[in-house]
């Protein structure tokens, strides 16, 4: 045996090396060892190795995300979901385009809520009409928003041209774009791609990427409101990253845009159906109550009650509804004037070829909406100067122009140009706030 002592020593040394290798490997994070397939282990580091050079920001964003902290790999999100086209990508098979369906692999409840919200099918249909939807997508959209998906495309976009439509309207309305895999839109519009951030979705400026400007000034109104002022003052002490299902007023003592319609504050049910707690179709020319408006209002009031006493909440709603009724009357009055001119043959049937039509559109689409949004969001200046004052001014201009047109000769029908998809600007019967619910006909824009 003595003559083999060096052989034994060699075996011992070799074994020690193997044990050392096993120990080193065991000390690696479980994320890098325990994955369902080898390719997911590779994805924990291989993707970053290239992308640190090619698109380095996405790596740093992901590294700061909760997804990374919870051990999600790049491939968890980028692998093709059912119905998605795939492509070879440097040793990995990934989806050609990520959609909300990829997020739904883990966040199915959130996706289900989103898919029945107005952020989904109605948002895309408001601009592009029904043509892009599969039968299943159309059925789902119409089930929750009857008449708001099976509709013609918005005529203004067609008149402005495809470039304006793509980079303007659809840059926001793509939040509900029907995807080839059967899903709608992309969650990254609000949560961003590699940060996948809850905090970002709670930032007012995130909602304000689309909900701003004269046609729906929610960001500006929020900024002017008491909520917005308090947020600016207290944001440094707020926990914007709090778990949505555990969110308390200690985390966020001040609401942001997402809090009231979506957050599960103090044990309430969190929802990605942004319309669930809304009472009225404020965006419509004449605002009716939503089909589930009473239930939605009750839920919203429950959330308000986390900060305000019941009496204060009821008074706030009553005041806002008075503005809504008054605005409905003002809008209906103006649209009746224009409809009367059209019926009398004083206007062509073509949309937006006469000055008065632009005034009518501005009246409800800009100032009518602004007055109502201002009332329901606590933005006094928007109820008054950006809303009612402009309503008053435009109504006067419409009346003067209508009087002039009454004395003009009727427009010859042969001169009437046609559009393939004229904008529908329905004039609905003004409804009292507590009148029976009706979904109403689609307006030209649904945001």
């Amino acid at each position: 045996m003595v003559q083999f002592k060096w052989v034994f020593l060699a075996v011992f040394l070799g074994t020690a090396l193997v044990v050392a290798a096993l120990l080193i490997n065991a000390r690696r994070p479980s994320l890098e060892r325990s994955q369902p397939e080898a390719v997911f282990v590779e994805a924990t580091g291989k993707c970053a190795e290239c992308h640190r050079r090619e698109t380095s920001a996405v790596v740093h964003q992901f590294e700061r995300s909760k997804h990374a902290a919870k051990g999600i790999t790049c491939l968890d999100c980028h692998r093709p979901a059912a119905g998605q086209e795939s492509q070879d990508h440097r040793g990995f098979v990934i989806a050609k385009q990520l959609t909300s369906k990829n997020c739904a692999e883990c966040h199915s409840t959130e996706y289900e809520q989103f898919s029945r919200s107005r952020h989904a099918a109605p948002s895309w249909a408001a601009v592009n009409g029904v043509k892009d939807f599969s039968p299943a997508q159309l059925e789902l959209g119409e089930r929750f928003h009857q008449g708001w998906v099976n509709r013609p495309a918005m005529g203004i976009g067609a008149m402005e041209g495809p470039a304006a439509l793509a980079s303007g309207c659809n840059a926001c309305h793509a939040i509900g774009k029907p995807n080839a895999d059967g899903s709608f839109g992309s969650c990254t519009n609000c949560h961003s791609r590699h940060s996948a951030s809850v905090a970002l979705a709670r930032e007012p400026t995130t909602c304000g990427q689309c909900h701003m400007g004269p046609d729906h000034s929610q960001l500006e109104i929020y900024g002017e409101s008491k909520h917005g002022a308090l947020f600016q003052a207290q944001r440094a002490s707020m926990n914007m990253s709090a778990d949505p299902k555990q969110l308390t007023t200690a985390d966020m003592p001040v609401p942001t845009c997402a809090t009231c319609p979506m957050s599960g504050l103090e044990g309430m049910k969190v929802t990605h159906d942004t319309t669930e707690r809304l009472s009225y179709y404020l965006f419509a020319p004449v605002s009716l109550k939503r089909p589930n408006g009473d239930r939605g209002q009750a839920e919203m009031k429950e959330l308000c009650a986390k900060c305000h006493v019941r009496d204060r909440i009821d008074r706030f709603y009553a005041a806002a509804e008075q503005v809504l009724v008054a605005t409905n009357e003002k809008v209906k009055g103006a649209t009746d004037v224009v409809a009367g001119l059209r019926a009398a043959g004083k206007l062509t049937k073509a949309p937006f070829d006469e000055d008065i039509e632009f005034k009518e559109f501005d009246l409800w689409h800009y100032f009518g909406r602004t007055a109502k949004h201002g009332a329901f969001m606590g933005g006094a200046d928007f109820v008054q100067w950006h809303g009612n004052y402009e309503l008053l001014k435009l109504r006067r201009e419409i009346d003067i122009e209508a009087a002039e047109l009454q004395h003009a000769a009727p427009v010859a029908s042969a001169d009437v140009p046609t559009l393939s998809a004229p904008p529908a600007i329905p004039v609905q019967a003004a409804a009292a706030p507590h009148a029976p619910s009706a979904s109403g006909a689609p307006a030209a824009s649904a945001r």
């Binding site: 003559q3 083999f4 060096w6 052989v7 020593l9 060699a10 075996v11 011992f12 040394l13 070799g14 074994t15 020690a16 090396l17 193997v18 290798a21 080193i24 490997n25 000390r27 690696r28 994070p29 890098e32 060892r33 325990s34 994955q35 397939e37 080898a38 282990v41 590779e42 924990t44 580091g45 291989k46 970053a48 190795e49 290239c50 640190r52 050079r53 070879d88 440097r90 040793g91 990995f92 098979v93």
Partner: protein, 279 residues
């Protein structure tokens, strides 16, 4: 090494098949094949940096320049300068390559994960090994004990590099299949046996064991080649993607390659032992 021994080595004709000629062929073929292997590896990176072409250009040039060393062992002593230059350049290319590979990710955060997922830091050291091997064996009389010793040193160095490569490469898979540990185990035992043989060159049982260990390494390399081939065939994706980004097909053959280098050393030892002592 004396000047005389250098001169002696330079003019040695040697038999048609000898350890010295086998070693020359080994060095030339390795330098040449490294160019092919690196071309594949850097193609996976789409030659993102211009520097990725350098080792390929070097490999092709060096291999071509060294071909005469294999074909005409009776080369002029002056040719030795070219060989030293190639050896020195190879060491430089290898060291620079290792630094650039580590720079790809490791230097940024210096974590184990970065070491695993950066470009393989040990791979360019193949040039260092080949360059030093070329220099050192030219400084010793071919077939001498010192010459054989250097071969064993570089075989050991190669297996040490192989240990690092198999460990980090398979760590990229999280050693998903247990068979991925075979390379680590093989390289670890090759290292331990070769190290002790260098320390105890006259231990006969150990020398015999090293022969078996080297034979097993060669078999392990062939098995690894088969397993890598199978893994790539079974992998989803296009053929080109599988070839470039799948299991590196030629990597396991490094076990065969190093076993050959060790075998050349043992062959030289056997020839020396067979020679009469007064030779």
């Amino acid at each position: 090494m004396t000047g005389q021994s250098c001169q002696t080595a330079a003019i040695q004709a040697g038999p048609r098949l000898s350890p010295a000629r086998a070693l020359d062929a080994f060095i030339v073929s390795n330098l040449g094949f490294l160019g092919v292997d690196i071309a594949l590896a850097h193609a996976a990176n789409r030659f993102a940096r211009r520097e990725e072409w350098w080792p390929i250009a070097f490999s092709v040039s060096a291999a071509l320049l060294l071909v005469p060393s294999v074909l005409w062992p009776r080369r002029a002593a002056a040719w030795r300068l070219v060989e030293f230059a190639i050896g020195t350049l190879a060491v430089g290319v290898g060291v620079l390559g290792m630094i650039l590979h580590l720079q790809s990710a490791f230097f940024e955060q210096q974590t184990l994960a970065n070491l695993v997922y950066s470009a393989p830091f040990a791979a360019p050291l193949a040039y260092v090994g080949l360059g030093l091997l070329l220099i050192m064996v030219r400084m010793e009389a071919a077939g001498s004990e010192a010459w054989e010793g250097w071969l064993l040193v570089f075989t050991l160095g190669g297996f040490a590099g192989n240990l690092a490569l198999t460990l980090t490469d398979h760590a990229q898979n999280g050693f998903f299949s247990r068979s991925e540990w075979a390379g680590v185990v093989g390289a670890a035992f090759a290292c331990s046996f070769l190290l002790l043989l260098l320390l105890r060159p006259d231990d006969a049982p150990l020398a015999r064991a090293v022969r078996y260990v080297l034979a097993l390494q060669a078999l392990l390399g062939l098995l690894g080649f088969g397993l890598h081939l199978y893994a790539n065939v079974a992998r989803p994706g296009s053929w080109s993607d599988r070839a470039l980004y799948g299991a590196p097909l030629f990597a396991p053959l490094l076990f065969v390659d190093l076993a050959l280098l060790g075998a050349i050393a043992l062959w030289a030892r056997a020839q020396r032992s067979a020679r009469p002592l007064n030779g």
